[in-house]
Symmetry: C2
Subunit: 324 residues, 2 copies
């Protein structure tokens, strides 16, 4: 196994190679742009890790890993249009820097390119790879649909919320690892266990994201603390608070949700106090660790050698400690 930084470096090399060989049309400029503005490349790194875990040759997985990164960036590109987001990783979003039409069409061609790259594998793995990627891509679209739908729904339940984050973000984490495993000729059972590890770790990570958005250290977290509260985002914390609140707490919470004019600091402080009174942080942490434990159970079932087992364990623990 290599360090995460080494895997990241290998992915960045692949992105550079893509850049050198891409088409000349201006259609590809936004594709280059969004690939260039960084991110941790965690998903393609997981594909390389998946291959190394099962003693495959990671060079055989470079193209598919790049395809996973392209797919992820394609979803960011289209999601940013739908969310009317001005910034992505501190830079102008594609529809801001170019226009909505360019963002739609460059996204589409990037999606095709993701298929091309993901399926650039030995033909004996092609059916498995394609089936996995097709299902994952469908699920990610469904997750984004649910996320948008939840914005205007008042009756979102916690199980529905978990299903949404699973589809929108976690399945791609599982897919990235499983893809690497398939390309290393792992057995079906092993490939499915590494998928489950990624899927459940992804859910835990997303719930942690909700917690950090309220209780995180702004400097370490890298986002504005309280952003979800200001946006009335139906996170695990808000849904749990609404579920746990007594009559007067419920009325106070709903009055903050209904206000169209308010002082941001006051709203964040008041809602956070309600969350704290209702112990939603602890409740969210409990659920987060439950999903983490399910992930570790899958890891244990894999019966990897000690080095590999600890590599994944360290990775998972590192992910869960990102701003403690």
């Amino acid at each position: 196994m290599k360090t995460i930084e080494k895997y990241q470096e290998l992915i960045v090399n692949q992105i550079d190679l893509f850049e050198k060989n891409r088409g000349d049309l201006a259609l590809y400029d936004p594709v280059s742009y969004i690939l260039s503005i960084g991110g941790k490349r965690i998903r393609p790194v997981l594909t390389l890790i998946g291959t190394d875990l099962f003693d495959g040759n990671i060079e055989d997985s470079f193209q598919s890993a790049l395809g996973i990164e392209m797919f992820h960036n394609f979803t960011l590109l289209h999601d940013d249009i739908m969310d009317d987001a001005p910034l992505r990783r501190g830079m102008d979003t594609v529809h801001e820097k170019w226009d909505v039409n360019s963002a739609i069409l460059s996204g589409d061609v990037m999606f095709v390119e993701a298929f091309v790259k993901v399926t650039s594998c030995k033909t004996k793995y092609l059916r498995s790879v394609l089936d996995l990627f097709n299902i994952t891509a469908t699920e990610v679209c469904e997750g984004q649909h649910l996320d948008m739908e939840f914005e205007t729904r008042e009756d979102v339940t916690i199980p529905e919320y978990i299903e949404m984050i699973k589809l929108k973000t976690s399945v791609l984490v599982g897919c990235a690892l499983k893809l690497g495993a398939i390309l290393a000729d792992a057995k079906d059972e092993e490939a499915n266990l590494i998928y489950d590890f990624g899927l459940n770790l992804g859910i835990a990570f997303q719930i942690q994201d909700d917690i950090l958005d309220v209780y995180g250290d702004a400097a370490l977290f890298g986002k504005q603390v309280g952003g979800d509260i200001l946006a009335n985002k139906k996170t695990y914390l808000l849904l749990k608070a609404l579920e746990s609140a007594d009559k007067s707490q419920g009325e106070e919470l709903n009055s903050w949700l209904a206000k169209s004019e308010y002082n941001s600091d006051q709203k964040v402080k008041a809602v956070t106090t309600l969350f704290t009174d209702l112990n939603v942080k602890e409740k969210a942490e409990k659920v987060m660790w439950d999903y983490y434990d399910i992930a570790i159970e899958s890891l244990n079932k894999l019966k990897l050698n000690e080095e590999k087992h600890h590599y994944l364990l360290d990775f998972a623990q590192g992910l869960m400690q990102r701003s403690k």
Copy 2:
């Protein structure tokens, strides 16, 4: 070989089956909608024809043919957003009936579904099918990009225009036929010849479309005659007219292109008169028949039996006579 109507009926049956088994999410409503509002289903019909030509079992091609129709409709869905088109086949476009975000995301999931269906084939054909579809999907995006880019460019050449219509519409005609041929185990050479037949027939068809938009019978053509002229669309006719015009004709033509306020009938009449004076209809017909002839050359090289040869010949001739 079956009648076109019979093939169309088989495709409609597949669309009905998809409808019965599709996901429940509202995300799929626009997918159902755009598939339901008709069209001639010509591309999936060509896939079935491609399979029958090489003595394959068309039942093995139903899913892939449906995938081609889904891909085509996905492109219409996203193109309609980009063109801000209110109507498609006389019905509200998806972004009008729902909204832009729904049209983007339903288009995306429809694109995945197109991949799923197109690649629902025997595994031995999977690599060939996927390579063909990946290239075609990329080219169609590139064609749409060029079409949009041409709107704001004043220096579009006729070869560039031909390249654009080839990418935007004709490659999918070639792809549809070749896909059917691959699934019937046709030899590479045969599959490539049927592709060339479709590709060049598609270019001829598109140039005919330009001609009919000016000189067609509105009732038979099914569109407003003169629509391209009113939109200043850089069709073969306009590009040829600009190329052939003397100084005073060029000035007159450019003055009509520059006017922001005009009587529609007057503009259509004046530009049509210029086109007629410059013989652009005849010039366009010459190029159209040149591409038609290239298509027929590929057909001749295929050495199909007489029934099949005449079937394709009749099909091609029928296409070229659609409003004479």
